[in-house]
Symmetry: C2
Subunit: 378 residues, 2 copies
């Protein structure tokens, strides 16, 4: 039966990271549990919601953890409840001891708390992913790519495949991340330094956002592995499994065109704030669109919500060239696109009032392109 002592703060950090995979309202009740497994060298915390699973391993060799293992074993504990109890303990360290009938006793300072657990046999087995030939990525770069694309995925289950982000590796070096909800698209490309096996997978955008929350910037690199049904992101202490989406992702390359009629470069934040003002008024009516008018070398934004009021605003540009044009679109899409852009300026290229327009970083610093489909108005 388990017996160990550990530093409370270190234990809580690992518990809170693992908790990100655990939902208290899961269709499978046992998944509200946290699994604790202890062997002679380490302690592993496991949480899962069926879509993502997190394993967090603390080694006895980790100095800050103060982990002293007296006895091995494994047990299930109600995750939220257990974590609240641990965070309330009075001392900087705690003793964890399993007693009869899947009960545990936590001792810290003068406090002694007994909790009921469950037999670890009740917990489902997580599918294994073979860990050979990893794709090694810089964690920060991978998280940037996720923040640049995952937001554009659909949040509606009518076409489940669009709730995912399409990650591919072609020619062993050409990495691409794409998401679209059929109204807008975001695509980021990257050429890897070293060649590895090609892949073509679709990962729920929500799982990727959880990955970004769990893998802090202190984790320099992440190893990525694939099985037929899962992707595994692994660091020294954390294994993060996400289930893949099944089905064929639509061909997004055909959406990208090279011709355009009008090109404007804006300060990213100034355009975003102008669109946020437009959104406040447009959102109050059913129409919900903003109209951009380009004429006489000047761009103005217009919103008219008969019930509420209207906006007219002249937009500053860094440069503007090409034909005059009037185009209407949902300002939310442009706001979210601009938030995803890290560059100071943004280049927007228009083809026609009924064709999608493209956004790229004004400094062309990244292989990053976004598309937004306009709304037809009369």
């Amino acid at each position: 039966m388990i017996k160990f002592s550990i530093n409370k703060t270190f234990f809580l950090q690992a518990l809170n990271a693992t908790k990100r995979a655990i939902s208290s309202k899961n269709a499978i009740p046992i998944l509200s549990s946290l699994k604790i497994e202890v062997n002679s060298q380490s302690l592993t915390l496991t949480g899962s919601n069926g879509q993502i699973s997190i394993e967090n391993t603390i080694s006895t060799e980790e100095n800050d953890a103060g982990l002293l293992i007296t006895n091995s074993g494994s047990i299930l504990l109600e995750a939220n409840f257990f974590i609240n109890i641990v965070s309330s303990l009075p001392d900087i360290s705690l003793d964890f001891e399993e007693i009869e009938q899947h009960q545990i006793v936590l001792k810290s300072g003068k406090s002694e708390i007994t909790l009921k657990g469950k037999d670890v046999e009740q917990y489902p087995r997580l599918q294994d992913v073979t860990t050979t030939k990893p794709l090694v990525l810089d964690t920060k770069l991978l998280k940037t790519i996720i923040s640049e694309t995952a937001f554009a995925a659909s949040t509606q289950e009518s076409r489940p495949i669009l709730t995912g982000v399409h990650l591919t590796l072609t020619e062993h070096k050409e990495f691409k991340s794409v998401a679209t909800d059929s109204h807008r698209m975001s695509q980021r490309k990257l050429t890897l330094d070293s060649a590895t096996d090609n892949f073509d997978v679709v990962i729920p955008s929500r799982s990727l956002r959880e990955f970004s929350a769990v893998f802090t910037d202190e984790i320099k690199t992440v190893e990525v592995f694939f099985s037929n049904s899962q992707i595994l992101f692994r660091s020294e202490n954390i294994s993060f499994y996400a289930r893949l989406l099944e089905g064929n992702y639509p061909d997004t390359d055909r959406l990208l065109v090279n011709n355009f009629e009008t090109e404007a470069v804006f300060n990213t934040n100034a355009l975003r704030y102008a669109m946020e003002r437009a959104y406040l008024i447009s959102n109050a009516s059913q129409n919900g669109t903003v109209k951009l008018e380009i004429s006489n070398n000047q761009i103005t934004a217009h919103v008219n919500s008969p019930e509420v009021g209207k906006v007219n605003e002249e937009l500053d540009t860094e440069s503007l060239s090409g034909n005059d044009l009037t185009i209407s679109f949902n300002p939310t899409y442009l706001i979210e696109s601009l938030k995803a852009l890290k560059s100071e300026t943004v280049k927007i290229r228009f083809v026609s009032p009924i064709r999608p327009f493209t956004l790229t970083p004004g400094d062309n610093s990244e292989n990053f392109i976004q598309l937004i489909t306009p709304v037809r108005t009369n």
Copy 2:
């Protein structure tokens, strides 16, 4: 028709303070409006939810406000919407101009936003309070007294009078604030420096908490006035009206007794954290109580929730004297009492397992006493 310009940040501060009185889900729809009244010297913002009303006046003589009035008038605007629009404006200042048909135009930078308003005649009249012979209080002290007592008021409407805080002035100098929900009571007394008219009023605890949020610590003193149905708190710029509760407040003095059998002094925070641990376990069961056992010059806390687990904890005391005793109570009441205490230590006096126990600051620094009724167990 209104026309003025103003500093955006200063205007927003006043708008957000006034908004605290405005609910978007009011039974009287017009109360979701903000009233703006402009005369030659100042601009007044008014918000009300029927229970509390706030008037915020900005003078042209206020340097930071940058208020320049061209034309007087008054108008109603949808409060939340208007405040969101103002906070989105691009420039540090804004021009506000009323045009035909109760519409206004906001100009800031290159942005021009037109909003629909309403005729000010639709707004209900706030009851007047005669402002002679004010009771002048230190704002910080009044807010401290509110935080020490208002939490103990009832949140249930079964006895409406108990949702209030009983404020009285007797013998022209003896100020007292009391609240009870019939399970616990909190009372704070204060002798005023100068004599004023006696009063006896009951104010909804929620209104007093809003007062504390609106009157920042920068406002040194507050003038207090009464009418038959309202209390008015007034500073240089803000008038805060709260409706009084009707009915007789129960006699709470009879609850206070001087005899006791057991007295213990604790470190306030250490006792609070121990009770928070106890609460985590007690709250998981229906029983929901913690048991204190005083024997052999030692105090231990016990919780037993058969479904979940149990707690045993030896409590450190600064001093302990009197008879042995076992008493059970809801730990939430003790946690909230201890949060209201600003002193480093707390003195708790027990009479018997079935009589309320009292809490006072360990250093006797304030005229502050709290009562908590125990729960009878077998």
